[in-house]
Symmetry: C2
Subunit: 229 residues, 2 copies
């Protein structure tokens, strides 16, 4: 049985979701030169646990250590790998833009929409794995603070709202969004106010090791017709 | 690498959650005679996919076909099996009481509380696996219709409320509970009314293949101080 780990690592840049891809070597047995999710085999010698294996592989392939990683699902069947029965433990990882520069040369960030529109074809069943991880993210964005891990640690609420809107693919009402985020009690007011055109904007901060909190009210109740300011 | 599947199969009986356990054979290499979650190895010959393997193993070990099965997590490390590096794909399955009689002699339903209170010790890390699956169920009960799969297909709302209360470990306000469940639109009014002490109770029905729906408002807003009627 082939047992691997694959990770969908996401960031927000230019107001869009981007996924980190890794180019397979020219001499790969299957899918040479193709773009793929960063992944690899569990090593019985090197890895104590599946979690440590995931971090090791992500660091080796992408040179990155995201603050947030979660398992999405394990996909196993007879057809996904030309070499036979294969299982992969799929992960979703989020990273803030300022920490997302990969140290590896054979990686690139690409817009999720470009992959979905087949502008680029991924190896194996990785396009399906990407869809599964994106679905997990957008579902959790409806009822939790998870998308916070795509934001910088010091942020203004309109920036965070924009991240939620990108993840949900939907505009949100400003006041309803604020109510949900602030009542989740993960943002700390820094006391800093930035004067813009209108009233001063508050700078908030979150801790990178903060737990993902659930909202009392789902985000879909905050979805509106037009983008808020 | 040892790759297995384990399932936490739950039902509600006598107003408590019960888990189906399977007794390991006397000649087992590890944990002989011990009680364990029903589980087994993926068979590259017999199983096309992980999903089919899960159903096959549950049917062989427990003789049961629940309407609802979902993956919870894959747990893998060097210490969980005395034979070395081992991975298990953990599943949560729900079954309604009327379909829950196992055809196998080496199985039994036992109260989840009894396992948690160590009245019975499970093999391997199965007590931890049980906790993980229970946490998934109680989290999802806060924002979705998932516990419906523990109910009979024809039901009264107070019965369903009691199921939620058992799963959440908390009493719920009758009116707030009803608002959430009915607005999720998974229950069909059969038109049948049962006359009891007070006003007649409506009999609802759900389809066993209905999707799990998310609520607009989380269930914790419905949590009260005292058990409703």
């Amino acid at each position: 049985m082939i047992s691997t780990i694959d990770t969908v690592l996401l960031r927000i840049a230019d107001n869009e979701l981007q996924v980190l891809l890794w180019q397979r070597p020219q001499d790969s047995r299957a899918y040479p030169d193709a773009w793929a999710l960063p992944g690899g085999w569990v090593s019985e010698e090197q890895d104590q646990t599946l979690e440590l294996a995931t971090c090791r592989i992500l660091e080796q392939k992408a040179g990155l250590k995201p603050d947030y990683i979660e398992q999405v699902a394990t996909i196993g069947n007879r057809t996904r790998d030309p070499d036979g029965w294969s299982m992969t433990v799929l992960h979703l990882a989020l990273i803030r833009f300022s920490c997302s520069e990969s140290t590896q040369t054979n990686t690139r960030w690409i817009s999720v929409d470009a992959v979905r529109n087949k502008a680029l074809t991924l190896a194996f069943d990785h396009a399906e794995l990407l869809d599964k991880a994106l679905e997990r993210l957008s579902t959790k964005a409806r009822y939790s603070t998870l998308p916070l891990y795509l934001a910088e640690q010091e942020l203004k609420l309109p920036e965070l709202q924009r991240i939620y809107e990108v993840v949900l693919g939907n505009p949100l009402h400003k006041r309803a969004f604020r109510e949900r985020i602030l009542s989740a009690e993960v943002l700390e007011d820094t006391g800093i106010r930035i004067q813009g055109r209108g009233s001063p904007a508050t700078i908030y901060r979150y801790q990178p090791d903060c737990a993902v909190r659930l909202f009392d009210r789902m985000m879909q109740g905050a979805m509106g017709e037009s983008i808020s300011e």
